[in-house]
């Protein structure tokens, strides 16, 4: 891959960002590219924002994606999609987002406005990019939507060279038993 490719993944603690980004890194590795990354967990488990950085290509040195430089931003929640898109998306990049809502405290207390679909679209269009919405699947456990999004990334060809078979191999590295079977089934559904 020439020129490198940066992915920024954002969500809320508990949504399984860790598995999604680890699977992406391993899938990219299976696809034959040099890749590195970093989870920024902070106080993640406590319902705070969580993010992961993934950097593909030999010209990527730091494991951290820089602001305004992500070719692909993946967000698993609406407010996170707006924040991550505005902070990290590069000119002409893609913002893939799962349309779930976990209201931040200030929104619940009425002090701040709730993020709307239009806010996500604006985050992408301000960068001359596009937003692609993934609708939650009612029949799928919320904590498995990370795999739904992984399938979407592969199916839409959002990461150059990355295919479903690479994601399958990656998941097989990371999961076993029933968890693997159900995740592979989600990939196959796509």
């Amino acid at each position: 891959m020439s020129g490198g490719f940066d992915i920024y993944v954002a969500g809320v603690g508990g949504q399984g960002i860790g598995l999604l980004s680890e699977a992406l890194i391993r899938a990219v590795d299976y696809a034959g590219y040099v890749v590195k990354g970093c989870d920024t967990h902070g106080l993640a488990q406590r319902g705070g924002s969580v993010s992961s950085h993934i950097r593909i290509g030999a010209e990527a040195h730091s494991p951290l994606v820089s602001e305004g430089r992500a070719d692909l931003v993946v967000a698993l929640e609406r407010h996170e999609a707006v924040s991550a898109g505005r902070a990290y998306l590069r000119e002409g990049g893609t913002l893939l987002w799962l349309d779930s809502t976990w209201q931040p405290l200030a929104v619940r207390l009425g002090g701040a406005r709730s993020a709307e679909v239009a806010d996500v679209e604006e985050a992408a269009s301000l960068r001359g990019g596009r937003a692609a919405r993934v609708a939650p699947v009612a029949a799928v456990d919320p904590r498995s939507h990370n795999v739904v999004v992984l399938a979407e990334i592969c199916a839409l060809g959002l990461v150059p060279g990355l295919r479903l078979e690479h994601a399958r191999s990656a998941l097989a590295d990371l999961l076993g038993g029933a968890a693997l079977a159900s995740s592979l089934a989600l990939l196959a559904d796509r």
Binding site: G47, P63, V82, R86
Partner: protein, 628 residues
């Protein structure tokens, strides 16, 4: 599924995608480490996770989570005295706790050798400060290596362990958060397990081990001589490298993760400066540095956090009469925050304005509400804070301590308004209670912290007759750092262990006034707090409830496919939209919709029901349809 333990134990050389913390564990195996100790703290607990992945029966070293960092350091020191290569690891601020013993290590002849692995946290991602522990290396005359990546965490651990064993001393491996957590494919060498010789070889006559008064001086001299020798030790120097062969009149001296950010920034730069990348940052490799200075007109010292290298480098240049322009920190901001690529680019641009010809991309202004960390759904700390707040007046003084319950200081609770360090709360509160007859003083502490550093403050409160109320937030685990066991849980890393009862510990220290309440029983807790805070002397209320994140995870794992989640729901007919659940109780499961209608986020609610007692109109009911 890949088996991390089996992978780490592989005898042949291999490569695998790992984080820095995991890479360090492979390095421990290859280096022949025999004893490892720690106290949990981000960014290092994942080292213990990787150790746990190796089955105890095939683990060639012993591991323990000690009671605190000082104890962990001392255990490692003791085992190294007997000739066993030992490792202690902990987070940045852990070194403050360990310091009293740590600073003595360089005075000692340590036959087994010892590696102190520090997890510093530039950017304060998960810490109460961003202290630069390189200062400790200077202060105590200890060598320090600083890797930039997961691969270097592996190779520099081996360099540190090699140096520590060869020279019978303690050596620091200073990791930082995004080295610990950086993930990449790392190439590992072969692992040939060596037979273990358990003979306790401590020989008090082989050197002086009791520094006292004038006997300190020969030991100090030896420490300084050893340090000077290391500054030219070829194996230590091999961790430094020069990039670019003097083609530039500009140079940069850099170490650690800032090096990678520098490389990123230089991708956009015009002519590239040469780079001296240090692995060993203490002692400063004077020869290499001087040569680099002498061959460049301008040298930027690019160091994250404090100017530790800069003054030494400037002094070297001064003494050598060099005219090289040395560019150090130019403002306070260069001392603050993590040296991420964009920051490094700005710093370079400030030193050399001609370096970049276009502005760098930046973030658009944020519009979405930020998401501060908060207590989990079902957390006993939430129930406790909600109740305790009711028992106090707004004017009373509450003192926080370190743990998940620190989050009680945020809205909507505002419980615990001052914080120093682990275990500080009782003593800080004791001071706040002096000359203070009007405002009640209440402080909090977690159970892991109580055993870590909380006991002296409690002993002092009893001994010196301080007037305050301590609330022990007993959740049966070290929750904040990932649910490690502690002396009060009845388990250690290695299996069952005697459970030290919090109450017995308090009684043993002479605390006479103790109440115990389940944190979910808010009415009882309110009453206990009202009573305790109106009585004289030092009072303790134990607010107990298991960590529900841990509890629910374990229950889910045990139940397997048979797991049926519980939920509450809001009965819209009886809900009066007073927002008690959202605004005061503050469980994140409650969401506010159109017109103030309250709903329950099914992704979040665990059905603990601790909220039900808070609703004045009784509208929170069990959701019998809830299952997933």
């Amino acid at each position: 599924m890949k088996d991390l333990g089996a992978t780490l134990l592989g005898k042949e050389a291999f490569s695998e995608i790992v984080i820095g913390d995991t890479a360090v564990v492979r390095a421990m195996l290859e280096s022949g480490v025999r004893s490892v100790t720690s106290y949990p703290g981000s960014p290092t607990p994942e080292i213990a996770d990787a150790i746990r992945a190796i089955p105890a029966s095939s683990r060639p070293f012993r591991f323990e989570f000690s009671v605190n960092e000082k104890v962990a350091t001392e255990v490692a020191f003791g085992s190294a005295l007997n000739g066993h290569l030992s490792v202690v690891f902990f987070k940045s601020v852990g070194l403050n706790v360990a310091a009293d013993s740590f600073v003595q290590l360089p005075l000692m002849d340590i036959p087994g050798g010892m590696v102190v692995v520090l997890g510093d946290d530039p950017g304060a991602n998960s810490s109460q400060n961003e202290q630069d522990n390189r200062h400790y290396a200077r202060m105590s005359y200890m060598p320090l290596f600083e890797p930039a990546s997961a691969a270097e965490a592996y190779s520099m651990f081996k360099a540190a362990a090699g140096l520590a064993s060869r020279r019978r001393m303690a050596v620091i491996l200073r990791l930082t958060t995004h080295v610990c957590h950086a993930k990449e494919r790392v190439a590992f060498g072969p692992y040939a397990p060596a037979p273990f010789d358990p003979t306790p070889r401590f020989d008090p006559d082989s050197g002086n081990y009791v520094p006292l008064a004038s006997s300190v001086f020969p030991l100090k001299r030896r420490a300084l001589e050893r340090l000077a020798a290391i500054a030219s030790d070829p194996e230590a120097l091999a961790t430094n490298r020069l990039e670019g062969r003097g083609g530039s009149r500009r140079g940069v001296i850099v170490a650690g993760a800032a090096y990678l950010s520098l490389m990123d920034a230089l991708e956009d730069a015009g002519p590239r400066p040469d780079v001296l990348k240090l692995g060993m940052v203490h002692p400063l490799p004077a020869g290499q540095v001087l040569e680099f200075l002498a061959s460049h007109d301008e040298v930027k010292v690019l160091e994250e956090l404090d100017p530790v290298l800069e003054p030494d480098i400037k002094a070297l240049a001064y003494d050598a009469g060099l005219r090289t322009r040395i560019i150090g920190k130019r403002d306070i901001d260069e001392r603050m925050g993590e040296y991420v690529p964009s920051k490094v680019r700005d710093i370079l641009g400030s030193a050399w304005p001609d370096m970049f010809d276009s502005p760098r991309p930046s973030a658009l202004p944020a519009v979405a509400s930020p998401r501060p960390p908060q207590l989990c759904p079902g957390c006993g700390h939430r129930s406790a804070f909600y109740a305790i707040k009711k028992a106090l007046s707004g004017d009373d003084i509450t003192v926080a301590d370190i743990g998940c319950h620190t989050l009680g200081s945020f809205p909507p609770y505002g419980m615990g308004r001052v914080l120093l360090s682990m275990g500080h709360s009782t003593a800080t509160a004791s001071g706040l209670a002096l000359f203070n007859g009007s405002r009640k003083v209440v402080c909090f502490i977690g159970d892991s912290t109580l055993f870590h550093a909380g006991l002296p403050g409690i002993a002092n409160a009893v001994y010196n007759a301080h007037e305050l109320t301590l609330v022990v937030m007993e959740n049966g685990t070290t929750a904040m750092t990932g649910h490690q066991d502690h002396p009060g849980t009845g388990k250690s890393f290695n299996g069952d262990s005697p459970r030290l009862s919090v109450r017995a510990a308090l009684e043993g220290l002479g605390v006479a006034n103790i109440r115990e309440v389940d944190a979910y029983q808010q009415a009882k807790l309110i009453e206990a707090m009202r009573a305790a805070t109106s009585e004289p002397g030092f009072k303790v209320v134990i607010a107990r409830h298991p960590c529900m994140l841990k509890f629910t995870r374990e229950a889910r794992r045990r139940a397997g496919p048979a797991w049926r989640a519980k939920r509450v729901r809001v009965d819209q007919a009886s809900c009066t939209r007073n927002l008690e659940c959202v605004g005061r109780f503050g469980c994140p499961s409650f969401q506010v919709g159109e017109g103030g209608a309250i709903s329950v986020n099914a992704d979040l609610c665990i059905g603990d029901g601790s909220c039900r007692q808070t609703c004045p109109s009784g509208a929170i009911v069990e959701d019998l349809g809830g299952e997933r």
